[in-house]
């Protein structure tokens, strides 16, 4: 574990300036992901710039009826916010499905969005990983891929996938379904990035998870008003009943009239390099009868391009039927619950 300097700047501006100027500095929030990486040697920064207290810890009402979630809001506080529970129940459920009580008390909204993959090879510096060390190779591709992606990891001209990792956040999945906007402040000023554009696919540069630029600090996440979100849910399937990352997860909201789906929002977790918006599934759902056949067809439309990994160490082909079953069951329960 490399010795580091711990800084507590007074303002977000100072924090940004420090990290922008020093390629060896990183932000530290709740530390539940970063500190593990320090111990494992996955991250070796020389300076930790502590941002707790530098971004808002409040959930505020926006004039348009949406909510602004400060980057410093703890996962447990966000899950318990009455407005979130009422207007975006899938988000509250996703937060509560993540980690453990103690971890949620430490974890922040900004840190949660930026937590890194749980790929076991990424976390083990004795195995090659393109995300950790670009160009080193990917140990997972022919290895243990139970927690890895089935969507979005394109092959290059040589037929190689540079990274097949999945993003582990639960919180980000409903945020994606509800078109959240990530607010940033950086050395070049402030900007707002729709979450639909925030996460990157690995392509040939898996070292970058998001479009965040050097020194940019997440200040808040805006949740736009979304009537459909009030009837939403989050379903996470994992290898034990609690305290495990998703094998697959589904955030879904549906509106149904006279047995026909009139509108839908669907996003998946655990299956791609970032949370995955299932726009093809949404297209199949809209206007179709609210039946199991429709739900399965929606899943199949989204899964048409799925490229599960078949390895000696444990592949992830099971995720295809699992995601189909999970989406079907989630939508059925949501619609029945509303009826």
């Amino acid at each position: 574990m490399r010795p580091f300097t711990h800084l507590r700047p007074d303002t977000a501006g100072d924090a940004v300036a420090t990290v922008a100027a020093d390629p060896d500095a990183v932000f530290l929030a709740g530390g539940t992901n970063l500190v593990d990486h320090l111990k494992l040697g996955v991250a070796t920064p020389g300076t930790l710039v502590d941002v707790t207290g530098l971004t808002s810890t409040a959930v505020e009402d926006l004039p348009d009826g949406g909510l602004r979630v400060g980057a410093g809001v703890r996962n447990s506080d966000l899950a318990g916010d009455p407005r979130v529970r009422r207007a975006y129940p899938a988000l509250a459920a996703a937060l509560l499905a993540g980690a453990s009580g103690q971890l949620r008390n430490m974890a922040t909204t900004g840190g949660n969005l930026l937590q890194r993959t749980r790929c076991a090879y990424f976390q083990d510096v004795t195995t090659p990983c393109n995300k950790r060390v670009p160009g080193q190779g990917c140990a997972a591709r022919d290895g243990w891929t139970r927690y890895h992606a089935i969507l979005g990891a394109a092959q290059d001209s040589a037929g190689l996938q540079h990274c097949v990792a999945a993003h582990p956040s639960d919180m980000a999945v409903p945020m994606l379904a509800f078109d959240a906007v990530v607010r940033l402040t950086g050395p070049d000023g402030d900007r707002a990035v729709p979450i639909t554009e925030f996460y990157r696919l690995p392509g040939d540069d898996p070292s970058r998870d998001t479009v965040l630029r050097r020194g940019e600090l997440i200040t808040a996440v805006d949740l736009p008003p979304s009537p459909i979100a009030a009837r939403s849910t989050y379903r996470k399937v994992r290898d034990r009943a609690s305290y495990a990352f998703a094998l697959v997860s589904v955030a879904a909201a549906v509106a149904v009239e006279d047995g026909t789906v009139t509108d839908a929002r669907v996003a998946f977790g655990g299956v791609a390099h970032g949370p995955w918006r299932a726009t093809r599934a949404e297209d199949v759902l809209r206007g179709a009868p609210a039946t199991d056949d429709t739900y399965r067809a929606a899943a199949d439309a989204e899964l048409a391009d799925a490229a599960p990994l078949d390895t000696d160490v444990g592949g992830n082909a099971f995720k295809v039927p699992l995601l189909r079953g999970t989406l079907t069951s989630t939508l059925r329960t949501l619609v029945e619950g509303a009826a």
Partner: protein
């Protein structure tokens, strides 16, 4: 021989909380790494990153330059060990690598962070040889070990099983597998070692299931007198077998201590290190064949096991021994074959042998029940033997049938419709299952105990010291030994104080094989009887005597074992394949239950670990690198609280004068035996899908 005398239970059998409970929950009980010693040096090891080959170069200069680093130990400069016959303990003696994760060096520093940083900066160059790290009966030369753990026959043959199978009306022929699992006690293996060069003494604070074994092993490895090795281990945060044998970590800490004479060397393992250095349960491939009449009476039982061992040191899990003693069958055969791999050394994990063996045997019995259309409780009753099926000895006591009947009654078994995949409740397939449990009743010779009497003149309140180097690994051994001593002396239990976990007191055998209470308790009873014989009922202040565990001559005449029956209700989600176990009940017949509070936690602890094996535990070995890739508790899943539903254990009163003077049988391991099978059997009843491997994952139930 006349029936032996048993102690009259007064304190024994009463519910008593752990005497050290308040110290533990207030954080004042000291675990191995917590003993406050001056100026400790922190150790962080350097581990081999290849599974087989040798170290060709090692550059420690960058490590030595790290601020706070005190010393770097490598194969080049570590002290020579006196005894190198056990490859697991020949730490830093040569350049050969036998498994990935083996020690190749260690960094000592003033802070744990500097030690870790130093270890990261040691540059090791290797030459790698071809290797195999995954159990594969087709790839390797399987061989028959001389014996299986600890000293059972490798194979056993009675009658002509093949002929009987050929003639049987019903045959079950199936292969079952269990995954590699790691013990993962909550407290990692930890030691603090001080080397005093004058006189050459080690003082070792260790997290161990046996201070006396640690002492003798360290003395052997370093060529010292046992008297020059002190081992202190008052509290242990679980072991499940992994702290039963010495492992290389203690040898490394001792070598390091010799480098910094007088300074305590502190070495708690990281969770990741525990996946290569302190033992684990071998994966198993078990081929079971049952031949039976249409009514389900067994004529043949064959249990053939293939499992792995390490090239570094042989360990042969006695997986098929379960099938040697539970069910009657005139024709029977069991075998064990090993695949020797370039992997860490497997070792004891709760109920070695019985645990994986019962998974195959008890699922196979469920398959036979289905094939014969006989109720699975009734099937087991039909195959109850009159005597131990292999040795022909009568059982000193055996109440499996009573456990099955009582459990069936409590569980509501009579309402069960045997049809599989017939109950869909709120999207979950629901089913129930049964399995038997058994675990041999062991008692090991070799423990001593001191009893000392005190009567302070001032207030006259009498008080007894009982001293024995036993281990309390969270089981409540300290508490129960006090109850035994009180009854053996005929005194109030509150006047007895028990000291365990210290080589300063008489030696004791390891907490293993569920033999602790029986072995140590017998020594305590022996000391108490000698005390009364010598000093009568009116001893003087300071009178003391030593006793020892006597041989049990009755074991020549009787087979001795505890039995049980487990029942489970399982739900499997129809769309996602998720498995839940809302209800689990174990009924056990395990002699006299000495303390219902601590016994219950042993039973349900074992059952929980079996549930965990059934649903979660799976150390994933990467064949390309030879290491367990999911080597932390975020990726290696054990059952969480949410996975454990309404879990209950009860027992039937069993009087057995032959096992020991307390009439007790070991209870630490039987709870895990059959527990994984009962979950698999209930999952079959729920879904109609027969899963023959542990763990069962969502994958098994998806189309």
């Amino acid at each position: 021989m006349s029936t032996p005398e048993m102690l009259t239970p007064r304190a024994m059998g009463t519910p008593r909380r752990r005497v050290e409970g308040p110290a533990k929950v207030t954080g004042t009980a000291r675990y191995a790494a917590e003993h406050p010693l001056d100026r400790p040096v922190h150790l962080h090891p350097v581990l081999a990153t290849i599974p087989r080959g040798r170290v060709t170069a090692i550059d420690t200069s960058a490590a030595e330059a790290v601020d706070g680093v005190v010393a770097v130990l490598t194969t080049r400069d570590a002290d020579a060990l006196a005894d190198t016959s056990d490859r697991e303990f020949t730490v830093l003696q040569d350049d050969e690598i036998g498994f990935r994760g083996q020690y190749v060096g260690a960094v000592l520093a003033d802070t744990p962070e500097a030690a870790r940083e130093g270890a990261d900066r040691v540059e090791v160059t290797y030459e790698q040889d071809d290797f195999r790290a995954v159990l594969d009966p087709d790839a390797g030369e399987l061989y028959a070990p001389d014996a299986v753990n600890p000293a059972f026959a490798t194979d056993s043959v009675i009658g002509d099983a093949d002929a009987a199978l050929g003639e049987a009306e019903v045959v079950v022929d199936a292969t079952y597998t269990t995954a590699t699992t790691h013990n993962n006690p909550l407290e990692p293996h930890s030691s603090i070692v001080v080397w005093e060069p004058d006189g050459g003494r080690f003082t070792i604070f260790d997290s161990t299931q046996g201070v006396s074994t640690t002492r003798s092993n360290v003395a052997t490895v370093f060529g010292m007198d046992e008297a020059d090795v002190d081992v202190i281990s008052p509290h242990v945060g679980g072991g499940f077998g992994s702290k039963g044998n010495l492992h290389a970590n203690v040898v490394l800490a001792c070598l390091a201590a010799r480098r910094v004479p007088g300074r305590p060397v502190k070495y708690p393992l990281t969770r990741q290190q525990m996946f290569s250095l302190v033992g684990y349960r071998t994966p198993t491939i078990q081929h079971v064949r049952l031949g039976a009449t249409r009514e389900g009476r067994l004529s043949a039982l064959v249990h053939d096991v293939v499992e792995q061992t390490s090239r570094t040191k042989e360990f042969a899990e006695q997986t098929a021994t379960y099938s040697r003693s539970v069910y009657a069958a005139p024709h029977r055969r069991t075998t064990h074959r090993l695949d020797m791999l370039d992997v860490p050394v497997p070792s004891w994990m709760r109920a070695p042998g019985e645990c994986p063996g019962s998974f195959a045997a008890e699922v196979a019995m469920d398959e036979l029940a289905v094939a014969c259309d006989v109720d699975p409780v009734e099937l087991r009753i039909r195959n109850e033997p009159d005597a131990d099926p292999e040795t022909g000895k009568p059982f000193s006591s055996r109440h499996l049938v009573e456990c099955l009947r009582r459990g069936a009654d409590r569980f509501g078994w009579s309402r069960r419709d045997p049809t599989p995949r017939a109950r869909l409740v709120d999207g979950w397939w629901s089913g129930t299952g049964v399995a038997a449990s058994a675990y041999p009743t062991n008692r090991s010779p070799g423990s001593g105990a001191t009893i000392r009497y005190h009567r302070p003149a001032a207030d006259g309140a009498e008080h007894w010291d009982v001293e024995i180097a036993a281990a309390d690994i969270g089981t409540g051994a300290r508490t129960v030994l006090g109850q035994i001593a009180a009854d053996a002396l005929g005194v109030d239990v509150d006047t007895v104080e028990v000291t365990v976990g210290d080589t300063a007191v008489p030696p004791a055998t390891v907490a293993g094989g569920s033999s602790g209470t029986a072995s140590w308790g017998s020594a305590v009873v022996d000391a108490a009887q000698r005390f009364r014989a010598k000093y009568g009922t009116d001893p003087s202040d300071g009178d003391e005597i030593e006793g020892a565990t006597p041989e049990n001559d009755w074991s020549e005449h009787y087979a001795m074992s505890a039995f049980g029956a487990q029942f489970a209700e399982v739900l499997v989600h129809a769309d996602t394949g998720e498995v839940r176990v809302p209800r689990m009940l174990g009924v056990f017949a395990a002699g006299r239950i000495l303390n219902p509070v601590t016994a219950r936690s042993q039973f349900i602890g074992g059952m929980t670990m079996g549930l965990s094996m059934a649903l979660h535990e799976d150390s994933v070995m990467d064949p390309r690198s030879g290491h367990v890739v999911n080597h932390d508790l975020a990726n290696y899943h054990i059952a969480s609280c949410a996975d454990v539903g309404d879990m209950d254990a009860e027992w039937i009163d069993e009087e057995d004068p032959y096992v020991n003077p307390m009439g007790s049988k070991g209870i630490g391991e039987i709870g895990i035996v059959g527990a994984a099978a009962v979950v698999a059997n209930a999952a079959y009843h729920a879904t109609g899908v027969r899963v023959r491997s542990a763990p069962m994952l969502v994958d098994h139930f998806l189309d």
